[in-house]
């Protein structure tokens, strides 16, 4: 059964159904929710059949010739890492559809939900692609729905944000295009020469060639992720986008960057990746600290969350390029956890902004007493974001730091400062927005209603569940990470202190 094609096609069909003129506008959101739930159910059904013991291999593979003249195949398949990312997308889309339930008037909502569903198709495609060209097609095509989602439905500065987002990403993507072409030229060629398998372990014609191609890919992924210093589009885009779109943008789309680093850059260009490690580690640590510092200074709630994400992406990249299995497992897990905790933060922010009509933090205060449930959700999501033990992000952040420390102690120590800063930006924000005496502006506010509870409940549940018991996800991720490590040709450094082995909560692979 072509699981992945099916999961990708369901939202596309749904988008068409939503967009068609004879679908009543009022029903658009129902159709959108239904299709995204169907896609989620299919994803879960597929995940249940996933063979964990061979999670390092591509499963549910489908391979067809697409454009043989150019060496392009329509090849899908998921390993452990891709599976979790597909699942993350499939979970977040219905949540975001539900979050946008009442945000728009019916006429507009048709466009909104159709674009969201198209975006879901592209997201699943990009994570499931096993062909570099196909990956690139989805990678670039994703820009179009997001561009329109921000441009149509964003805040007052949406035009600027949408264009900036598009141009940044397109620039990275076009540079990557040259690298994609050069990679094919280096590869074996032929009608299926773009398959990732055929391009892994290439014998490059020269060190410089490999490094240049690597840089082409890495630049695109660094812009996407986004890393300092090519991050400036994210705060604008995330602040202007509606909450649901911001969730998908930061929670899933940006993961394509780190996902690409882990599953394309490292296996395809092992030598160049090792060559680039020192610089990338420094950039990652700068991102961690810089993002956190700027988050503290923000007065706009959504910009603040965007900057915290830059800090978190710094951690993810750090873990990927630490070249240890702990670091990479941690990063892969972090991608999932960050998706959920940031989604919760953005969605609560969206609910607050919908009530208050302002995203400025100073316009809030005392909400703990008026809307205790909203405050509670924000606190849980925030705590996860600052990696409180018992919540999901802690496990991944800890793994990343442990993994980095064994090889680059200095970087790990500096990055730890990021955790302290995280406590500052989350707790200060909580203090400013939620503590204090009851205020007048919130007099008539309702607390979390049933729909909103359905939006955040799954996220909070996952955050807590993965905080206490991350093993199922790690079991899926670890074999894939092991394989990547083998492809890069690195092994974990031996522990230097006799008798003590680094172990994290029984999650040793």
């Amino acid at each position: 059964m072509p699981w992945l094609t099916l999961i990708g096609a369901v939202p596309l069909v749904g988008a068409l159904a939503v967009w068609l003129p004879f679908t009543p506008a009022a029903k658009a959101r129902v159709v959108a929710l239904a299709t995204s739930v169907v896609a989620l159910v299919l994803t879960l059904a597929m995940a249940l059949q996933f063979d964990v013991s061979t999670a390092g291999e591509y499963q549910f593979a489908e391979t067809y010739r697409w454009i043989p003249d150019l060496g392009v195949s329509y090849a899908l398949g998921v390993d452990g890492i891709a599976l979790t990312m597909v699942a993350l997308s499939a979970v977040l889309v219905p949540v975001c559809v539900l979050a946008g339930w009442n945000e728009l008037d019916p006429e507009q909502s048709k466009t909104f939900f159709a674009l969201m569903l198209v975006l879901e198709t592209f997201m699943i495609g990009v994570f499931a692609a096993r062909d570099v060209f196909l990956f690139y097609v989805f990678f670039e095509a994703m820009l179009v729905p997001v561009y329109f989602l921000i441009g149509f439905f964003g805040g007052p500065n949406r035009r600027y944000a949408a264009v900036k987002f598009f141009l940044y990403s397109l620039f990275g993507g076009l540079v990557m295009l040259v690298a994609v072409i050069a990679l094919y030229v280096q590869g074996p060629g032929g009608p299926d020469g773009f398959l990732t398998d055929k391009l892994t372990g290439l014998d490059f014609s020269g060190t410089a060639t490999e490094r240049l191609i690597f840089l082409g890919f890495f630049l695109a992924f660094a812009i996407k992720a986004p890393m300092w210093p090519v991050h400036t589009w994210l705060p604008d885009a995330a602040a202007e986008a509606p909450a649901g779109v911001a969730v998908l943008l930061v929670g899933v789309l940006d993961k394509v960057g780190t996902f690409g680093m882990l599953t394309l850059c490292l296996p395809l260009f092992p030598e160049a990746s090792k060559w680039a490690v020192p610089v990338v580690i420094v950039l990652a640590v700068v991102s961690v600290i810089y993002g956190a510092l700027l988050a503290i200074g923000q007065s706009d709630l959504k910009r603040l969350i965007a900057y915290t994400s830059i800090s978190h992406f710094g951690f993810i990249v750090l873990g990927v390029f630490a070249m240890t299995s702990y670091g990479q497992s941690g990063s892969a897990l972090y991608m999932v956890n960050h998706g959920f905790s940031t989604a919760a933060l953005f969605l609560v922010a969206g609910m607050l902004i919908a009530r208050r009509g302002s995203a400025r933090i100073e316009d809030y205060g005392g909400l703990q007493r008026s809307t205790p449930l909203l405050a509670g959700v924000f606190l849980v999501a925030g705590m996860s974001s600052l990696a409180l033990p018992g919540l999901s992000s802690f496990v991944s952040e800890f793994l990343v730091l442990v993994g980095t420390f064994t090889r680059y102690p200095a970087a790990a120590i500096v990055a730890t400062v990021g955790i302290i800063l995280a406590a500052l930006y989350i707790l200060l924000t909580y203090q400013r927005m939620f503590t204090g005496p009851k205020r007048d502006y919130a007099a008539g506010w309702r607390d979390l209603d049933a729909r909103e509870a359905f939006v955040v409940a799954p996220l909070i549940a996952v955050i807590i569940a993965l905080g206490f018991f991350p093993k199922p996800v790690l079991d899926v991720l670890n074999p894939a990470v092991e394989r990547t490590m083998q492809q890069v040709g690195v092994t974990d450094p031996e522990p230097t202190v006799a008798g003590i082995t680094p172990a994290a909560e029984g999650t040793t692979p």
């Binding site: 097609v137 095509a141 561009y147 441009g151 949408a162 264009v163 397109l170 076009l174 040259v178």
Partner: protein, 548 residues
């Protein structure tokens, strides 16, 4: 010098010896598409003379469409037949077509087919009379703008129909241009397709002065470039003793003296290149493009942008792959410079344009630069990528210009005004006419090279050919120019969708059936070539070898 009776000058000796004129060997089947198109053009002239005024327009459209469809069918038949192509094997020997003068090989057939299909779409946009009862052309081109004669013609309800035979002559010339196997035939083809174009540019119904200015500019500069071409051809004749492309190639390979290439050859190549690069609109020979694109009647602009490019690039391909490969190391560096300059100039200057037709003109310049990178790959995949790009770009550009004709100033009462080409008038169009804005966005995304549109596959193909040929610098400049170009395409999208409407001064006219058909076909092709390009890529790869 003995007079050149045939296009092949070597025949001159034969003539004086025998005292008779030997009939050139003509493979009528191979050149039948050309003959049909020219015949349709001549029939069109007759119709203009004899058909009653009331039915003239309809007959002209019918003749043109029939001629183009029959031409396309014959191109298909010749391609399927294959006999012509097989007899054309041995170098310099008898080839399909007319001996020595015309060669009908696979690239020529592909280019002719592309020209015919895109001309057909252009004819449909020119036949539009729903938006304005008189069509997009002036009723009496000879009348001075603003004169009583002009308003008299307008009041009398005269309809311009000479444009169709002119178009057919032009199409015939375009089909001959990439199939020409010697420089004289090539020059004749150049003139045959250019002269009607000069005229057609001056036929716009509105903004007559701008249109006439465009016509005059195009004519003067075009005449200059033709002179350059002819002078180049003369110098190459002086060098090689023949105007046949194959003989020139032979002469070049025999000319590897210790002191480098013959100056005659180098000068000849340079002048010839000026003539060809002018026609494709490459910098620094691009100055005419924005003015002419803006002033010409919009359907004619679409036709020029799509079909002239195909014909001129086809000829450039043939000259550089058949006649001049031996001197490759001498002219490639210059062409590199031209390609880079063209991409950068087109992309950068387009940013500051405020008129949608001028913007598309600069965009076409940038695209000429992208196509040049494919030519510079110097490989079969280079030829194949250029052929694909030309067809893909042609569809999108005809569609885009057809849509431009529909955005109008609000006129008095029910009548629509002239075209609203200023970008500010396009603000908020997405809300007023989602379909038009959606289709225009599709074409813009294709121009920008976003995946799942034909533009992406085209760009990918030319850049990959360039990288495989060692030109990764060209590809890098190309992608950077694409990023810059994306900015101004996006700006139009932003205007259409994310800006408040500019007020009731802009209306979107309801098109008639021909334009609907043309735009639908263009949009469909743009998507199809983006998602399933294999069909056409197979064709272009099969058609990537030139016969000498």
């Amino acid at each position: 010098m003995t007079p050149l009776v045939s296009a092949a000058p070597s025949l001159a000796d034969v003539l004086t010896a025998a005292g008779t004129i030997p009939a050139p060997k003509v493979d009528y089947f191979a050149v039948s598409p050309l003959l049909v198109v020219f015949a349709a053009a001549i029939v069109g002239v007759m119709v203009e003379a004899f058909a009653p005024r009331g039915s003239r327009f309809r007959i002209q459209v019918g003749v043109a469409v029939l001629g183009l469809v029959a031409g396309a069918a014959l191109v298909g038949a010749v391609a399927v037949d294959g006999r012509v192509l097989q007899t054309a094997g041995s170098a310099g020997a008898a080839v399909g077509g007319i001996v020595g003068a015309v060669v009908v090989d696979k690239p020529a057939l592909f280019l002719q087919g592309s020209i015919l299909v895109l001309s057909l779409l252009s004819v449909l946009t020119m036949a539009e009379r729903t938006v304005e009862s008189g069509g997009p052309f002036t009723p009496q081109a000879s009348a001075v703008p603003g004169s009583p004669a002009e308003s008299l013609a307008r009041r009398a309800g005269l309809v311009q129909s000479e444009v169709f035979p002119l178009l057919m002559f032009s199409v015939g010339g375009m089909m001959l241009f990439p199939a020409a196997n010697d420089l004289l035939t090539m020059f004749i083809a150049l003139e045959v397709f250019s002269l009607p174009l000069y005229l057609m540019c001056g036929l716009a119904r509105r903004r007559r002065l701008l249109s006439q200015e465009a016509s005059l500019k195009y004519f003067l500069l075009g005449a200059f470039s033709s002179a350059f071409f002819l002078y180049g051809a003369a110098l190459l004749y002086g060098f090689a003793g023949s105007v046949r492309l194959f003989d020139i190639a032979q002469a070049i390979s025999g000319d590897s003296g210790p002191v480098g290439k013959d100056p005659l050859l180098l000068l000849g190549i340079a002048l010839l290149a000026v003539g060809l690069l002018f026609k494709v609109g490459a910098a620094p020979f691009h100055i005419w493009t924005p003015d002419v694109y803006q002033g010409a009647p919009t359907p004619v602009t679409g036709f020029m942008a799509a079909c002239t490019k195909i014909a001129a690039f086809g000829a450039l391909l043939r000259v550089s792959y058949v006649a001049l490969p031996g001197a490759r190391w001498d002219w490639t560096p210059a062409l590199w410079g031209v390609a880079i300059l063209t991409m950068v100039v087109g992309a950068v200057i387009a940013i500051v344009q405020t008129d949608v037709k001028r913007m598309l003109a600069y965009s076409s310049i940038a695209h000429a630069g992208f196509i040049l990178t494919g030519i510079l790959a110097y490989s079969r995949s280079g030829v194949s990528s250029v052929l694909f790009y030309l067809l893909a770009y042609g569809f999108s550009t005809v569609g885009a210009f057809a849509l431009v004709t529909l955005v109008r100033d609000a006129g008095d009462g029910d009548a629509v005004g002239g075209e609203a080409t200023h970008l500010s008038q396009w603000a908020g169009l997405g809300r007023r006419s989602p379909l038009l804005a959606g289709l225009f966005t599709l074409f813009l995304l294709a121009f920008a090279g976003i995946p799942l549109t034909s533009g992406f596959i085209g760009k990918y193909a030319v850049f990959s050919a360039a990288v495989a040929g060692g030109g990764w610098v060209l590809a890098l400049v190309g992608v950077l120019a694409s990023a810059v170009a994306a900015f101004f395409y996006l700006r139009v999208v932003v205007l259409m969708y994310f800006s408040e409407p500019s007020g009731p001064t802009t209306v979107v006219a309801t098109p008639g059936v021909p334009v609907v058909v043309a735009v639908s076909v263009a949009a469909f092709a743009t998507l199809l070539l983006g998602v399933f390009p294999t069909v056409v890529l197979d064709l272009t790869q099969g058609a990537s070898a030139f016969l000498p």
